[in-house]
């Protein structure tokens, strides 16, 4: 078997770990005050993620289940599901985004104040999932808005959503306020609002936002008939 070419993919499901010592060193280099501020800031945001009360399909039920007594997303300070996008920090795209719904999803995203995050929950939100080949199904919400965490599953268990939320918290805790790798919301040149696709005669126009969507590089395969 050794003659097979090694895969270009990294290890399965790379886990976003805690802040490593190297990260800390990096933080120190920014200066201790900045680091402390940064940590306070990141701590505040990561412990007070209010999701948008916004359910699309099946996954929304598991999202609600994550807020119920058994799983209790409140433990993470994230049970305040705000129905108004103005007060939400996190958009959990929980379910199939249809082409008819896509403009509304983008509009909601534009209405959310920075810093904002997006979790694509479930197969449909990531890639269209089982409904991928449908004529009215968007093949992944990341064609129009940037996604921070992808949670596969159909639907993911509520624990998986909690896990995704914890991954997001870790990601927020690693963000920088300054420097080359500063967080998206601190950089004015990075767009926070995105053009809303229009309903066309056959499809959405445009079908994707090239500023957001980076298609995968095709893997080397022989391409069978």
């Amino acid at each position: 078997m050794s003659e097979l070419p090694s895969t270009p993919l990294p290890a399965p499901f790379p886990a976003a770990g805690n802040i490593t010592d190297a990260d800390r060193e990096e933080l120190r280099r920014h200066g201790i005050l900045m680091t402390s501020l940064e940590e306070l800031y990141n701590w505040g945001r990561s412990n007070s993620i209010w999701p948008l009360q916004f359910g699309l399909a099946c996954c929304a039920i598991e999202m609600i289940a994550a807020a119920t007594a058994r799983f209790d997303i409140a433990r993470f300070g994230a049970e305040i599901f705000r129905p108004s996008p103005r007060q939400a920090d996190l958009m959990i795209v929980s379910g199939t985004v249809t082409k008819k719904m896509a403009p509304q999803v983008v509009r909601l995203w534009n209405q959310m104040p920075e810093p904002k995050y997006c979790i694509a929950m479930g197969a449909c939100a990531i890639s269209g999932g089982p409904f991928k080949q449908g004529y009215n199904v968007l093949k992944g919400v990341d064609r129009f808005i940037p996604v921070d965490i992808y949670i596969p599953g159909c639907p993911p268990r509520p624990e998986a959503l909690l896990h995704g939320l914890m991954e997001l918290q870790k990601q927020i805790k690693r963000e920088h306020l300054t420097g080359a790798d500063a967080a998206r919301h601190t950089r004015p040149e990075v767009p926070s609002e995105f053009p809303i696709p229009a309903y066309g005669a056959h499809d959405l126009e445009p079908t994707m936002n090239p500023a957001v969507w980076k298609p995968a590089p095709p893997l080397p395969r022989s391409g069978k008939a």
């Binding site: 505040g44 007070s48 300070g77 104040p113």
Partner: protein, 410 residues
Amino acid sequence: MIIAAIDSYLEVAPLAWRDAVVQWCPEPTQWLVHHLITIVAILAVFGTLFAFTPLAERKLLGRLQNRLGPNRSGLPWWQNGPKLWGLTQPFADAVKALTKEDIVPAAADKLLHFLAPVLIVAFSLLTFAVLPFGRHLVPVGLDAALLYFFAAGSATELAIFMAGWASRNKYSLLAAMRALAQVISYELPLILSVVPIVLIAGTLSLQDIVLAQGFWTFGFLPHWFVFTPWGFAGFLLFLVSALAESNRSPFDLPEAESELIAGHLTEYSGFKYALFFMAEYFGLTALSGLGVTLFLGGWQAPCAFLQFIPSWLWFMGKVIGMLLLFIWIRGTLLRLRIDQLTRLAWQFMVPLTLINLGNAAFWSLTAGWTGPLQLVRWGVSLAIIVIPFVLLGRRLSAGRHPRTYRYAAS
């Protein structure tokens, strides 16, 4: 003896500390420092209380719903440190709210949109000026404190209307209209429900009203107004009106999450939203403080022998108890509709408060009845309020009752 000394020191401790600071300042600024310290103290104490009330609400609601509530926030700068039972949650929320982008809708009335959250916090803070927090702790000893309280308190609804109008959002507009209807309907029963107190105590000064409740039968039965028939009825009426005035469930119509998204708050983000949040809890705390002052003996201890505990602790304890009651009600009840809300006010609350006023008059006239007459006094007074309650209640819920159903076997 020592206990008594410590007690009397604790009682005046806040004042003593303030005076110490004031004396340390140069003479011409002393009056300013004196008032500033008072203001800062109120802001600090009730600010802290505000910080923890939403946390308590979230935890208590969690417990009501068989779950835990926030418990994992921990500390900044100490990532894997203790979780501190989530006690730092409010600070995380505050940090987040402060650093959130502030969006003003393009179509909004910019000035009103900005003014509304500022005004609502200002108005709700003004009411704290007249509450007697302890035996010696009265920020402003107004003679007409009660009038001042209602005047300042009802201005918050104006701010809600401003917020709803300025947002240029249909949901906000509906909420603004609801808020106005609600405040006009419930201002009357709220004031009428406390008039009996004025009648009995013979004063509008809140401190004097508290002092009027500072007696005990046998040393452990407090003479709080809530323990009289008219007082109890008045307390319940006050409670309902207070819930409506502070837009709390079951009267949270302006916010009405399931109908109007977030009502007047729909277009507010970041810190402006936090200000509304703050004002809601300040208003709630102030109304709780008023309820405690008027009906629950204010800073008075429930039993004579418990007086060694400083009076301001009693006050705070009672206020917190009232807040928990509000949260409990929120965790259980559902929301009324706007027409039912106003009907409740005009057809039920207003008549009952008026009858209760007569009841208090009766109580005041029969103050001399003793012995077996005392029983008659209680009986008559109870009847005066219970019979109209039952009759009006029947009228209010006419035709609505749990039903029985038939079954088909096939």
